[in-house]
């Protein structure tokens, strides 16, 4: 039986295996018309076959790229597997990308076939046909509003799958033959990097790499077919691809697609996943919501909540890590679990979570400890698109908030002389699509991938990431300057949404601040501060005082750092507009485009170092409908207190 065609080394073969072994086990769920619909592995295999044969009937061939654009919909996930069955490559794309970015990817990947969610995406693609004439087939999932589209090549997914069933009836061996032709070294998926610098690059990942990443993750956390995950993060993001596609296909667990982007919270509660993945931002939003609601509650509810939250803060994390804890605390924690933590986990939809991961950005220590202390096994991982998101994972019981854990099984990590983190292993990308120059640049002579992140191993062998290697610089004094690290410290405050630190080659660090409209707005409301919008709120004296407190708290923490204590923030200002991906200030994954921002706001940076107390600025903004406008403001620049360097006490 052990012929090459039977080994489980490609995703379509894994699918057929699940259909054989657990045909009646739930594979995919989606909430539709208020009811959760379930497809079993057996049904999914049939749907994938219909999709694949349908694509074949349109002329989709081995090596073709299939664009997939839309929210997390079952048929879009299946389309990935359908493309792979035919020896093609799935290219999931961000659906909220602006036309220019989208057409670049369509052209770069030579897309002839696209499967999209709805009319909105169809309209976008039809508009781009002028620049991308090779785009022959646009296939849509949701038929709403599509009745009058008679453009050539526009087809409903239902029609495609019908054609596929007919094709299968005519060529019964076709589907399995095609799958047998697949090789584990074939490219399975192409994920475009968000492009902090320059144009997006298509990262080609093979079946072998993603299955490798999935298998090590699954055995690391003992994931099996009975696990459940909510699939709500963009399909084009490597994290979602690993968790909702690769691991689900490997372990055979159930993915659940929410009803719509706005219902994720309700759907999370209804599903009660056992395995959960979210960027820190999502955890933060959840916590903010809870805290705001608790502030509004009566003291009868507030008092026990705060009492037991203090208990949890004291001993919760230790209990989950199975460390010794005093008996009295254990009893109090058990009572709290009954009265507060349990119900709270239930409200958050986290009652059944065994393993939760966060990645993509640094998570605040308070935030991290909060979830762990109420009994959610939240852990961090570290990875990149180029490494299938799986480089380091925190093992159960060895959790530290400022490191990302030891290297995952089968992955080698090395620190270069300049502090850059280098990675080698089977999870590495095959290449950047049609970019041998970029591929050569990213891989060194020994086959290590340059992550571009700077970090070091601590005494327990856990990797600590400080910043992007290229962003790490020096102050005029020669001390190390890691802007991201400083910004993250600031962003740990609930009131600060975004921050940009400057200081390269100068004698002191200064920072732009974006306040968090939700949290600060609520804060202002409770103090009866009237405001008309972001710009007005941001320039209020009270808000400056609030932000200064946050900045000084960050400074106090920085003062204890052995390397970065000179990076305390001397001067700051609150920007008059929110940094926005539509204005190119952030990437789609909400990372600051540092050089772009410093050019765009050059007058403000200059004002920092010229010692001015305020600065006038006029900025162009792009509205959601594509129009542009100008906003201007006179921004205040304030000083923050600097603390003397005190060596940190040995952590308890």
């Amino acid at each position: 039986m052990d012929t090459p065609g039977d080994t489980l080394d490609t995703f379509p073969r894994l699918l057929l295996q699940h259909a054989r072994v657990r045909p009646r086990h739930a594979a995919t769920r989606e909430k539709n018309l208020g009811i959760w619909q379930t497809w079993t592995w057996g049904e999914v295999a049939e749907e994938v076959r219909a999709l694949a044969c349908g694509l074949a009937s349109l002329g989709f061939r081995r090596g073709d790229n299939l664009a997939i654009i839309g929210d997390n919909r079952p048929r879009l996930y299946w389309a990935m597997c359908a493309a792979q069955s035919l020896g093609g490559v799935a290219v999931p794309m961000y659906q909220d990308a602006i036309a220019q970015e989208m057409s670049f990817v369509l052209e770069d990947a030579g897309i002839r076939f696209a499967i999209v969610e709805d009319q909105e995406q169809v309209d976008k693609l039809l508009e781009m046909r002028a620049q991308c004439p090779q785009l022959a087939h646009v296939i849509y999932d949701d038929p709403r509003g599509m009745r009058h589209y008679d453009q050539p090549g526009v087809l409903s997914l239902d029609a495609l799958m019908q054609a596929g069933r007919e094709w299968h009836a005519a060529h019964p061996a076709f589907f399995s033959d095609e799958i047998a032709l697949g090789k584990t070294g074939d490219v399975a998926v192409m994920l475009y990097t968000s492009g902090t610098t320059g144009k997006p690059k298509g990262v080609c990942q093979t079946h072998e790499a993603f299955i490798g990443a999935a298998s090590s993750g699954c055995s690391f956390d003992k994931l099996g077919p009975d696990d459940n995950i909510l699939s709500y993060l963009p399909m084009a993001w490597v994290g979602d691809h690993l968790f909702s596609y690769a691991q689900a296909m490997y372990a055979g667990f159930t993915i659940n697609c929410p009803e719509s982007g706005d219902t994720v919270m309700t759907d999370l509660r209804e599903i009660g996943p056992s395995y959960y993945f979210a960027p820190p931002r999502v955890f933060e939003t959840l916590l903010t919501q809870v805290m705001i609601r608790m502030e509004d509650a009566t003291w009868v509810k507030r008092a026990p909540f705060h009492f037991f939250m203090d208990v949890a803060k004291r001993c919760g994390a230790d209990i989950i890590d199975r460390k010794p804890v005093a008996l009295s605390d254990r009893l109090l924690y058990a009572l709290g679990n009954l009265l507060i933590y349990g119900p709270l986990r239930n409200v958050l939809g986290m009652s059944r979570i065994r393993v939760a991961y966060t990645a993509g950005a640094a998570i605040g220590p308070d935030l991290f400890r909060f979830y762990r202390s109420i009994g959610v096994n939240l852990k961090q991982l570290y990875g990149a698109t180029e490494t299938c998101a799986a480089v380091c994972l925190q093992p159960d019981g060895q959790i530290k908030f400022d490191t990302v854990g030891p290297p995952a099984p089968g992955v080698e990590v090395k620190i270069a002389d300049n502090g850059e983190v280098l990675v080698r292993g089977k999870v590495l990308l095959k290449e950047y699509y049609k970019r041998p120059d970029a591929t050569a640049e990213a891989l060194d002579a020994d086959g290590y991938f340059r992550t571009g992140d700077a970090g070091y191993f601590d005494e327990d062998g856990h990797l600590k990431i400080i910043d992007r290697a290229k962003d790490v610089g020096k102050l005029a004094s020669g001390a190390m300057f890691a802007p991201n690290y400083i910004e993250n410290k600031l962003k740990f405050s609930p009131y600060i949404k975004e921050a940009v630190a400057f200081g390269q080659g100068t004698d002191r660090v200064c920072a732009f601040i974006n306040i968090d409209m939700g949290a600060v707005g609520d804060w202002a409301e409770r103090r009866n501060l009237a405001y008309a919008g972001y710009a007005e709120l941001a320039q209020k004296d009270e808000i400056y005082a609030l932000v200064r407190e946050c900045v000084e708290k960050a400074n106090a923490e920085l003062a204890t750092d052995p390397v970065l204590h000179e990076s305390q923030i001397h001067r700051f200002l609150i920007l008059h507009k929110e940094l926005d991906p539509d204005d190119d200030e952030l990437t789609r994954t909400r990372k600051v485009r540092r050089s772009f921002v410093s050019e765009k706001y050059a007058v403000l940076v200059e004002a920092f170092y010229a010692g001015r107390k305020s600065q006038f600025i006029e900025t162009q903004v792009r509205f959601e409908d594509g129009r542009t406008g100008k906003i201007s403001a006179d921004l205040r620049i304030e000083e923050a207190k600097i603390f003397p360097h005190v060596p940190a006490r040995k952590a308890a």
Partner: protein, 262 residues
């Protein structure tokens, strides 16, 4: 907006309607017709008689003179319930929802006319009543899906922002599966984005369900984009009737809107 809908025959004809409240003449000899599947707008300055006209159509007011012909039959003293049973549904200028009830329940009330079981059967929720409820609930879920309001399904209407309440009201009207939908200022008080959404829903309703739509609206750009034909009222009289372009060029309309030196 190019359209490939088949606009059919006259479904509703208003002829020489006169409506007065004591000495106030709200409508004076107004005549116009509405064709099947079209979007027909009624516009005019404040107090022109637009809402009165809608109230005549769905049987709230009974005109002193003139006739309303629906599907070839002249109607005599129809009350709102009978109008609803014959295929009319409407929304109101000032939202008229049950504020303490959830979105789901509010839309469910739109199914009221179609529910056959009596109060007692429903209270027991057994047998026929249960089967019936499931059918109606499924239909309501389709409306919720259509209007993209899944996320507020269980939220009490009173807690929703204005634009969403308007959408829920449209949902309740749609749940009745009307042949003619009467919309009284569906975009009043909305911001640009909410207006765009509402326009899209109105067009989709018209296109997908083939519903005939009569709407009153103040926002001229909306009216001109949406409607197939426009009738203009001023002081209870009809002063123009035709396609948006014809109406836009009509001198009397311009005078009525911009004012004229007397």
């Amino acid at each position: 907006m190019p359209t490939t809908r088949d606009i059919g025959d006259v479904i509703l004809a208003i002829k020489d309607v006169v409506l007065s409240f004591g000495g106030v003449k709200a409508l004076q000899n107004v005549s116009f017709d509405v064709r099947e599947h079209e979007i027909r707008a009624i516009i005019g300055p404040n107090g022109a008689g637009k809402s009165s006209m809608l109230n005549v159509i769905n049987g709230v007011y009974h005109p002193q003179e003139g006739t309303v012909t629906y599907k070839g039959e002249v109607r005599h003293h129809v009350d709102p319930a009978e109008a609803a049973a014959s295929g009319f549904a409407r929304t109101f200028q000032n939202i008229a929802l049950f504020r303490g009830m959830s979105v789901l329940d509010n839309i469910m009330t739109g199914r009221n006319l179609k529910i056959k079981c009596n109060f007692l059967q429903q209270a027991l929720y057994w047998g026929a009543a249960q089967r019936e409820e499931l059918v109606h609930r499924a239909r309501v879920e389709e409306v919720i899906d259509f209007l993209e309001i899944q996320h507020i399904r269980k939220v009490p209407v009173g807690r929703l922002p204005y634009g969403l309440q308007k959408r829920v009201e449209l949902g309740r009207a749609l749940a009745a599966e009307p042949e003619v939908l009467l919309l009284d200022e569906p975009m009043a008080g909305m911001n640009v984005e909410e207006k765009q959404d509402m326009c899209r829903f109105i067009l989709d309703v018209n296109d997908q369900f083939g519903t005939t739509i009569v709407l009153i609206e103040h926002d001229m750009s909306v009216v001109m984009d949406l409607s197939d034909r426009v009738v203009v009222l001023d002081y209870g009289r009809k002063i123009a009737d035709g396609t948006p372009d014809e109406v836009r060029a009509n001198k009397e309309v311009i005078d009525a809107y911009l004012g004229v030196a007397h």
